[in-house]
Assembly symmetry: C2
């Protein structure tokens, strides 16, 4: 492990009149013998007495990297190198996730999450930003909420491992540009407002004390490429390593916004666009987050929808992966047509409800025609970003070694279903990799590998931003992608085949009946 | 000026969609164009909005050097480079002196001083140290007292110049090892206790915030060579520049302790020893500091002592320079003999008082036989240090280009008198340089010249410490120096000559009578 923190055990000579170097010098000389140059912080200077004497000059120094040099940030009696901890954080607008890492071994000791304490000031980012516009005091409230959410996670992780508070030396954070602005106490209106020049995109290493975050040394915050391509995506680059690979890979993080990166060690194209809130359970009438009571899997068999519900028996709504399954099943079995229009003659579960058609997918729960349309717009946006980026770069889908789907959505969604509705491109399933919380994974990488911060600067240099909205036939491409799976079915050979098979099975069943 | 702080005015392009670099990047790019690489502190990041916009992107960044790199520590609207301030401090155990410096021009704008707020916990350093031994809480009280004393000076200087609080970017401090230990919140018992290994001797650049000192960036604290050779002496080295000169010079700071450095650009010998409190008005019964009411000049004419009193008509006591004058006059006119014994037959002003002989030097004020003896011990200690260091190094007095006398004592004392009693060596008066508060002067140098901190490391490397106490015939040398001016009058040719002249004048006067 060659991370952004380290602990060094020193067995020093007891001072004598012949060797009466200062305690400070004695420690710095001891470090130097082990190949480390460092500065000692005031906190360590104050601990020299009486700790060194009491520990008979067998002490462990905790060191934190500030991007340029090492700082001794804590001193403990005896050999405590076995207890070397750090925290990696994904600062999401909805959820804050943190991992406690044993920085000596690289092992993740625990993970926890909490809702972002900013939610009371708006479930979506824009609402929070507008609150700050109305009242500048809100910014400080939002900053503290972010700090408190992270601190809550850290305290929970420390408690689980029975560690004293502030046991960690360093912290790394991946988060989108708005979240990082709030965490630093910076107004974020700039993120969504022309000319989209944000206030700070390279926070780098900042003293934890300045940020009021509960670690001893420095906090590394992933930089952003632009307003929409935040530190969470850069962190994902590091987690997946696509910037180091010879072959071309794609990285796609889709939520309310979609961020896409395509490239290899030689080039990186990137772009971002709005996808709509459908994937995160917004807009859709019975939509909800992937939590207890949410339908997350749907199967249509024997003319009936079978739902899997998270943690409970009774469904309370449907989350992103459930919606994708539902739409795929509806489409494959002809309950909706290629435009997503419900076909009431196909099933008694398709009914008129609140003045429009809806499918009754679970007791008392309906998925409406308008929900379907909303979702199709989202999946079309996702598809369009990928299609345009491939076209603009002249890269064929078949050239991609891997297609990394990041985020919670990517983690839970069925690849087959996502392809069936044309949300994912039709490609080898093995090449579609659900990368999970790659923002968090990348934060762990930055904690354990000091070279990451430098590599990130190279990644940023290499990245070329493509403005989707300015691409000539963006709208045409988008409209073509609003069919299921796509206006041009030839782009979806496996779906075409599947449809044909199902049609034949249905025909056979009809004949049997 | 190439100091440890700077201000850079930036006229930046207003962000557009074509150039929508972040504010942070825009500023860092602007700095780079002017040849400066820096990090921006959280404080600056938070000020970006709305300051940049309001200032139409004409802003001034304040930068502070941390010994390795520049940190942007404040941002102001418009061109404020003309208002570039720093503070230099001499942290004395009795007096804290501070100078406000215009770091753009190098001009000292003002100087002020205050008593060290630690005095209530002991007028001398040892008492303060013992208080900390008895109760560790005292250390924090002493730390805060030092911080408050410095802050008081800074506020006073800011107010005089009508500057807002915390207008200064950087601060530099010279102080002895104990004072710096207290300022950093470190126990100082080590300074006076075997094996004399102090806790920290190279504080270097520390964030002002950590120290709770009222500047925006970093505080540079002069390092110490050893327990007795503190940062005030190293600062004096820088002020006098003797470490850079081709010819050999001596630097002597004498107070309760004496610190002596001898050398040039090739070598530096140093030593320290106790001189006793006599010079600072201690022990001597009517002794006092050089303040209002103190006799600071004495002349013996027509069989009478003529005293000059600071600021008043009535004398309340006598300070160091007064004592030196008094002893010199008493000796030159034979009122005391070569051993310092009062000769009552010589004057009616020599009387028996409180069971011993004393000279009535001013109305109701007496200088006692015991005071004389005490002072002779001090002057002998001072002489001995110089004599031994010269002898050990094989350097003749005549080889010295200059003899720098530092400190308040050096500033006020009469060279003639100090030579007459054998406290200073008998050398060309022009070569004796009263260096004033060289600790403060050196602090100003470190503020205005960034290379000083590096040079100081070389000074420390070069310094060789001579333990006076372990020199073989230290005691013999000391005893020989307890005569006035010295047992060996040949060492004081000008004094010998002066004595002969006075004796002849007296003889002539006797004949006349």
């Amino acid at each position: 492990m060659d991370g952004i923190s380290k602990k060094i055990y020193l067995e020093l000579n007891v001072p004598t009149e012949e060797d009466n170097r200062s305690d400070q010098r004695r420690i710095l000389d001891g470090l130097r013998e082990q190949g480390t140059e460092a500065k000692l912080s005031l906190r360590v200077l104050r601990k020299l007495y009486s700790l060194c004497e009491e520990a008979e000059w067998k002490v462990t120094l905790s060191l934190a990297w500030d991007g340029q040099e090492w700082h001794g940030v804590d001193l403990e009696a005896g050999d405590t190198t076995g207890a070397h901890y750090g925290v990696a954080v994904d600062l999401g607008s909805t959820t804050v996730v943190a991992r406690l890492v044993d920085c000596g071994t690289g092992k993740v000791l625990g993970e926890t999450s909490t809702f972002n304490g900013q939610i009371p000031y708006g479930t979506d980012i824009l609402t929070r930003i507008f609150h700050c516009q109305e009242d500048r005091g809100t910014l400080e409230i939002l900053r503290k909420a972010a700090v408190n959410s992270i601190t809550t996670c850290v305290r929970e992780l420390e408690a689980r491992q029975q560690l004293p508070e502030n046991s960690c030396i360093a912290m790394t954070i991946g988060g989108n540009t708005t979240m990082i602005h709030f965490l630093l106490g910076m107004d974020a209106f700039c993120v969504f407002h022309t000319p989209y020049a944000v206030h700070a995109d390279q926070p780098g290493f900042l003293p934890a004390k300045d940020l009021e975050l509960p670690v001893k040394g420095y906090v590394y915050i992933y930089p952003a490429k632009s307003n929409y391509l935040g530190g969470d995506i850069i962190s994902g680059m590091v987690a997946t390593g696509i910037y180091k690979k010879e072959k071309i890979n794609a990285f796609f993080d889709i939520g309310t916004n979609g961020e896409l990166v395509l490239g290899n060690r030689d080039f990186l194209l990137c772009g971002a666009g709005a996808a709509g809130p459908a994937l995160e359970g917004g807009v859709v009438k019975t939509g909800m987050r992937a939590m207890k009571g949410a339908v997350d899997r749907v199967k249509l068999e024997d003319g009936k929808l079978h739902c899997h519900v998270i943690g409970e028996k009774t469904a309370r709504g449907i989350c992103g992966s459930g919606i994708v399954d539902l739409l795929a099943e509806l489409f494959l079995h002809g309950w909706i047509d290629i435009r997503g229009i419900l076909q009431p003659e196909k099933s008694r579960w398709i009914v008129e409800k609140d003045g429009m058609l809806a499918v009754n997918y679970a007791p008392e729960l309906y998925f409406y025609q308008s929900d379907i349309e909303e979702f199709i717009r989202t999946k079309a946006a996702a598809y369009t970003m990928v299609a345009i980026m491939l076209r603009e770069s002249g890269i064929e889908l078949s050239e991609l070694e891997g297609f990394y789907m990041a985020g919670a959505f990517g983690k839970h969604v069925s690849k087959e279903s996502a392809i069936a509705i044309g949300m994912y491109p039709d490609m080898d399933r093995d090449r579609i990799i659900h990368a999970g919380n790659s923002s968090l994974e990348g934060a762990v990488c930055a904690l354990l590998d000091r070279s990451v911060a430098k590599e990130v600067e190279e990644i940023l240099e290499k990245m070329v931003y493509i403005q989707f909205a300015t691409v000539e036939d963006f709208l045409n491409t988008m409209v073509a992608a609003q069919a299921l799976p796509h206006t041009d079915l030839e782009r979806y050979p496996t779906v075409k085949e599947k449809l044909e098979r199902i049609r034949e099975e249905e025909k056979a069943a009809d004949i049997q009946n």
